[in-house]
């Protein structure tokens, strides 16, 4: 294996560097904290001639994604990035991109939504966009951001998939944290990611019509076709991750298992909280507590079968969401995990722990408290609450 450069990059820089190596034809974006660094770096790369791409500074996120849709329909490798209110403004076009089956890759530096105005991290933005038909990949650190940005283009453009991908990292916690990132050489990226071969590009020589009316006599057939493609993409995503692992000596999976041997209770995490939670698991294990952790990387499509397999045999699971789905059972991940397990004969108790809202720091101590609660639930074999918010002062919450 050739020597690879380890660069000091924060999460946003890691995304930008990976995108540069993926050689997109078109980048259309609008800067928004905490994604700004990505857009700044990419516009520098283009201005300095290091990246030969059409860089469109759009006047809004809605326009940015619209431009991406047009470019991708033409057959271009297309990239954008956003966060929070920006993603919200894109909302209607998100459905168009996925329904057109356009392999756009979009980085999201996860940030809370107003109000109160908050520039800090949580996952209200992408979790709110979970039903838009995009693949969603969540990353723990800058290394994963780098590696999965590259893989996202492969996944999106694979002819068995042809779906847009949101590749997400926690705002500030990852986007603005500098770490050592082992980068691949340009030729390694080239060999893993060949140029895009579009299936039905807009082409005057071979005209096609995209975006016509779908009357009730056809709409369900077209949508079910999309649903089948989305579900089937899980298998392709696994294959692509395996190929990446084998090519570059990584060890990724759509659900990562940590200290699960002999575990009776487990934390199910997503994104950067996973790292802090692993340190808590180590502390609990050092005290002889049977605690493990599962990190979910792929939230859309949800790997339902894999989740069932991974969680079976446990007594209690604590699901760490980083947002609240108001008026239901905590966060979306908690609700979906519970739904996935419902028909299992032997299933663990599942409790939700929405944590780290609007940039509230999540600490090892929080996870210790959560695992202690899970051990109590396992011991008594009863669950009294569907969820409890973590990192919030006042009754009914685990604070501060």
């Amino acid at each position: 294996m050739m020597a690879r450069k380890v660069l000091a990059l924060n999460g946003d820089e890691a995304a930008a560097y990976a995108v540069k190596q993926c050689k997109p034809d078109v980048i259309a974006a609008y800067p928004i904290t905490p994604q700004t660094i990505i857009v700044e770096r990419l516009s520098d790369f283009v201005a300095d001639g290091e990246l030969d791409a059409e860089f469109i500074s759009a006047e809004s996120e809605h326009s940015a994604l619209s431009a991406c849709i047009g470019a991708s329909a033409m057959g271009a490798r297309t990239y954008t990035a956003t966060a929070s209110q920006g993603l919200a403004l894109m909302y209607e076009m998100l459905f168009v991109a996925s329904s057109f089956r356009l392999p756009i890759v979009m980085s999201v530096a996860n940030r809370a939504l107003n109000s109160p105005l908050n520039i800090w991290n949580d996952m209200s933005d992408t979790m709110g966009a979970r039903d838009c038909g995009w693949i969603q990949i969540y990353n723990e650190n800058a290394q994963e951001v780098y590696d999965f940005t590259i893989q996202s283009f492969r996944i999106a453009e694979d002819h068995r998939v042809l779906l847009p991908v949101m590749v997400c990292h926690d705002g500030f916690v990852v986007s603005h944290s500098t770490e050592g990132v082992e980068t691949l050489s340009d030729s390694e990226v080239d060999s893993f990611l060949p140029p895009r071969t579009p299936v039905y590009p807009l082409d005057v020589e071979n005209p096609v019509t995209i975006g016509c009316v779908g009357v009730p006599e056809y709409y369900p057939e077209i949508k079910y076709q999309q649903e089948v493609a989305t579900k089937k993409s899980i298998q392709t995503i696994k294959e692509i991750i395996n190929e990446f692992n084998e090519s570059f000596g990584r060890n990724y999976d759509i659900i990562e298992k940590y200290q699960m041997d002999g575990a009776e209770v487990a934390l199910l995490t997503i994104g950067s909280a996973s790292g802090t939670a692993k340190d808590a698991v180590d502390e609990m294990r050092a005290e002889g507590k049977p605690v493990g952790l599962l990190k979910l990387r792929l939230f859309r499509p949800l790997p339902v079968e894999d989740l069932r397999k991974a969680l079976s045999g446990l007594k209690a699971v604590g699901v760490i969401d980083r947002h609240i789905s108001f008026g239901s059972m905590g966060g979306a991940l908690n609700m979906e995990v519970r739904a996935a397990l419902y028909e299992m004969r032997e299933r663990p108790h599942v409790m939700g722990f929405p944590a780290g809202l609007g940039g509230r720091d999540i600490r090892v101590e929080h996870f210790i408290k959560i695992t202690e609660e899970l051990l109590r639930i396992a011991e008594r074999d009863v669950l009294e609450e569907d969820y409890r918010v973590v990192g919030c002062r006042g009754p009914g919450c685990i604070g501060p």
């Binding site: 329904s99 089956r101 071979n206 019509t209 995209i210 779908g214 056809y218 077209i222 089948v228």
Partner: protein, 93 residues
């Protein structure tokens, strides 16, 4: 009708120009345009204005394609020479 496996990819229309096979003329229920060729100066405004492309040019003559004309009357309204008259379909029937 086609199943989800048979409908084209993402509902794209892969066959160019197939709108022609869609007989929008069937929607015409009240009135239809009729051209008085004697008054017509071949200015082609009707040809430009017709939202359905239902006016065809043939050498120095414009003709209505009743398979696609929806009977909106725009051509008659725009014709500067008063060469197009909207005739009631009932008159015809």
């Amino acid at each position: 009708m086609k199943t989800w496996e048979e409908v084209p990819f993402a509902g794209y229309i892969l066959e160019p120009g197939n709108a022609e096979s869609y007989r929008t003329g069937d929607w015409r229920s009240r009135q239809k345009p009729v051209i008085n060729q004697e008054k017509c100066t071949f200015c082609l405004l009707c040809w430009i204005y017709c939202p359905d492309g239902a006016i065809t040019r043939r050498e120095s003559k414009v003709e209505i394609d009743y398979y696609h004309c929806k009977g909106c009357g725009i051509c008659a309204y725009e014709c500067p020479s008063g060469a197009i008259r909207m005739k009631s379909e009932a008159e015809e029937a």
